[in-house]
Symmetry: D4
Subunit: 153 residues, 8 copies
Amino acid sequence: MPWHVYLSGEIHSDWRLRIANAILDEDLDVELSAPVTNHANSDGGGVAILGEQPSDYWRDHVGAGLNAIRTRTLIEQSDVVVVRFGDEYKQWNAAFDAGYAAALGKPLITLHPEQHDHALKEVDRAALAVAREPEQIVDVLRYVLNGKLPKRR
Amino acid sequence: MPWHVYLSGEIHSDWRLRIANAILDEDLDVELSAPVTNHANSDGGGVAILGEQPSDYWRDHVGAGLNAIRTRTLIEQSDVVVVRFGDEYKQWNAAFDAGYAAALGKPLITLHPEQHDHALKEVDRAALAVAREPEQIVDVLRYVLNGKLPKRR
Amino acid sequence: MPWHVYLSGEIHSDWRLRIANAILDEDLDVELSAPVTNHANSDGGGVAILGEQPSDYWRDHVGAGLNAIRTRTLIEQSDVVVVRFGDEYKQWNAAFDAGYAAALGKPLITLHPEQHDHALKEVDRAALAVAREPEQIVDVLRYVLNGKLPKRR
Amino acid sequence: MPWHVYLSGEIHSDWRLRIANAILDEDLDVELSAPVTNHANSDGGGVAILGEQPSDYWRDHVGAGLNAIRTRTLIEQSDVVVVRFGDEYKQWNAAFDAGYAAALGKPLITLHPEQHDHALKEVDRAALAVAREPEQIVDVLRYVLNGKLPKRR
Amino acid sequence: MPWHVYLSGEIHSDWRLRIANAILDEDLDVELSAPVTNHANSDGGGVAILGEQPSDYWRDHVGAGLNAIRTRTLIEQSDVVVVRFGDEYKQWNAAFDAGYAAALGKPLITLHPEQHDHALKEVDRAALAVAREPEQIVDVLRYVLNGKLPKRR
Amino acid sequence: MPWHVYLSGEIHSDWRLRIANAILDEDLDVELSAPVTNHANSDGGGVAILGEQPSDYWRDHVGAGLNAIRTRTLIEQSDVVVVRFGDEYKQWNAAFDAGYAAALGKPLITLHPEQHDHALKEVDRAALAVAREPEQIVDVLRYVLNGKLPKRR
Amino acid sequence: MPWHVYLSGEIHSDWRLRIANAILDEDLDVELSAPVTNHANSDGGGVAILGEQPSDYWRDHVGAGLNAIRTRTLIEQSDVVVVRFGDEYKQWNAAFDAGYAAALGKPLITLHPEQHDHALKEVDRAALAVAREPEQIVDVLRYVLNGKLPKRR
Amino acid sequence: MPWHVYLSGEIHSDWRLRIANAILDEDLDVELSAPVTNHANSDGGGVAILGEQPSDYWRDHVGAGLNAIRTRTLIEQSDVVVVRFGDEYKQWNAAFDAGYAAALGKPLITLHPEQHDHALKEVDRAALAVAREPEQIVDVLRYVLNGKLPKRR
């Protein structure tokens, strides 16, 4: 039975790809999932499917509804939730996902640079691991699945 | 892992078929389920299986019991619940299913013409998407599974 | 510890008042709650509090959001949920409440005239009692609290 | 039975006080709770109580542990959760609380200026009301408790 | 905060009274509840309140519905469930209550003569104590509340 | 996805075999499970595996522990629970299973002769169908899976 | 509403008394509870109430059953669970309580000398605070209730 | 559908291997899982993956975090949890796992020598079977899966 790992958060860097490639290379028994990472589609899906809306607020509202169908379903189905905070943007939906996963009792791993440590202290406290690089996420998954430590880098 | 989508509500139009055909055409990873849509069987199943009853009220009661075995089990197993309100009938069981799904935390999508908007406002408020045409349900499922927007119509 | 009983559904007749008066008269250990029963306020509360909206649909949406805060909280807190279906209107929110309560495992009592029996069969099947008159609701509450039967009428 | 309302988020403006005073003035049956709003105590409580730590990261970690005891307990006990996003700071713990409350099924109200609308769209989509001013929170509570609309301002 | 103890099962002997009197004498902080113990009312309540039915089966059905409103609500509210099996009758509803309470995680105590030991082995295995006399139930409650052992008899 | 159906209760007649054969004949997508139906093994398993015990009571206790591992796991995994009450014995564990399944929200079907109707009224009230013959269980399963009614007998 | 705090673990030192006295002195809004701390009663309660047993193993078994009624009920009712590990004994029931509380999502605080740090690392990881002295428990409770830091010692 | 059995506790003897070999030999439909049983990796994984820490306490803390990701996920996924207490060490994490599993309602089996009976009485009371030898675990699994008793030894 593969482990389902949901990768929440930042969509403007290649962190998911680096994790996915490593998992493929090592043939780890992990299935990854994620939010819609095409920014234009993620913002515009609601209007494109459900029709034009009379204001930006309601455009965002119908778009966020569709994203919630995907996000909540995948978080519920996941065994582990990884949340990435990048250098930019407010990223409140990433923190929201972290809270949502924590309340469901899902093991939580955060991934962010040290500069965010103080601002993320409550989120990190709810996590079972705090990583700095995507490769550490792979290290954690390899360890929790197979008990193996990474070769010294 | 396919998504399980339960299609609740109206049984007198071809909306389920239109969704099913589109899902088949596009090979979306979705498994559909539904209540018993043969109206005569749905009304008469209880008496046909469990025996004649002394009044219409109890005939309906044993029939509704069998339908509940199917309905509740499939709603519990589903990832997404779609509820269709058509032009006619009271359709209270559709609204009941919507409330049942909402309380279980299942993502809910409603499908109905605009004329019902005011009467359905509480149900729609609990939904993550409100669609007008069956094809929009397929658009939503394509988007939440694959992140793709519909081609412009 | 009083029993909390939520009275959902029809807001255009005096059925809640008849129940409330009887409970007061008999000093039953019951606390009643209900949705906002002032129709104008119930429809207009969202806009009055959160501001004007660009369409009827979104006016209803913000109004229904406020009503959901009240409704869901009171249903969660209740020991028994009574749902009244009157002669008129679609009353889909009443059926929605019934489904919501059923999924939470709340004991459900429906109250409606016989003419709705067939259309409500799925809702009634989920109920533990089906009553025709508000006075029967009081009879049920007196019985489940104190074990006493009504005096013959 | 009073309603328990948890006020999460921004601690550098007087929004909680404005809500508390209005609730007191109107004698609404509401009990408010909040995180520790003394910033120095909130950051320094862990070290002051559990002892000095070898790095800022672990100082924050023990402090966040104490805050989580308070925060999670109060959110679990609350009937409604209000989350305020102010003009400054990352405020990821506010978004975390919103996700936590949403996953527990608590009715959620957000309070923030329009400038954050797009960044907060996923959080707002999970809310049942989005307010701009603290007084609107009081208006919402008055309405959901008593069904009364605010006097025209 | 008093402990709520539900006394399920046999209604044809004075076991509940013996427990209630001892609790009163000792002023233990316990609130007792029970099903309707007037046999005629318990069997006839449904028909008396909801109207005559066309067969014994449906008479029992409406009566059992009312009893379930009381029974399930009180079991849900209880901290401890005691189930008494007497010498006579099938007492399947007592065993049903035991299973219901066990699935909810309620601490279960059974009370029955040794002659039923083999037939009740699955029920007893789910219990945290098996008593023979009502006075032992009081002994158990005194101990779990106050840590005191009974005076030697 | 097959439906998992747990067949609880009487172990001294061929009712499970009649259901299993019909399901096999019709190729219904159902997986059946049951308690250990070898009476000697069911009573003696505890002592045979965990060692001799100093009294009949504790022999039964260790045996019932093993049976509970099987029973609870299979009931938790099942979509539908069928409980059979035969002509003889106390069958309290069958009623216990029914209560356990009901509290978990599993759709419940009872199967028993009319002579037990009054004694089983509380159990039957919690069921969604009451059958008299094993063949009706197959009819119910065929209907809830495929919507088909039995050919007239 | 007072906070309910369960004090699990070591029963051979005065740590509970030190906490209770400080809470009384400061008039903190906390209600404490604990297992039966009279060692002789805790070990002998089962036999004293439910009768002599044929072996030490079954004597312990009936005694532990009574203790479980108290322990599980109080842990379920508590807002915070404190678990104390002293210098001696195996104290496996303390670790069991910690796991039980953690799985229920109760905020957990451990209290133990540094010498146990390595052996308790999994338990401490599930805790939101690790204290060394009973007075720190009072400091934590004062802080999470009132936001106040201890005066410098 | 195979049964998932989690083997918690002692990592310094061959008890898991003896169970795994027997299950393989008999082709029982069981999937086993376990914590990381390489002691060095289990202690050192946190630092090896997440980086050096400033003290033994925090080294243990990050290591225990990774172990918790594995342990909690596997316990949640398991149908049965077996907890082994060996002759040595404090083994508090084993007792913690037992409490965690018990609170989740997982059937629990303990495995330990008689010398620990008194110290483990609370843990054993929460278990459905107490075994002395690994082979008895296989006997239990064979029985609960297939209803077969072990051949006389």
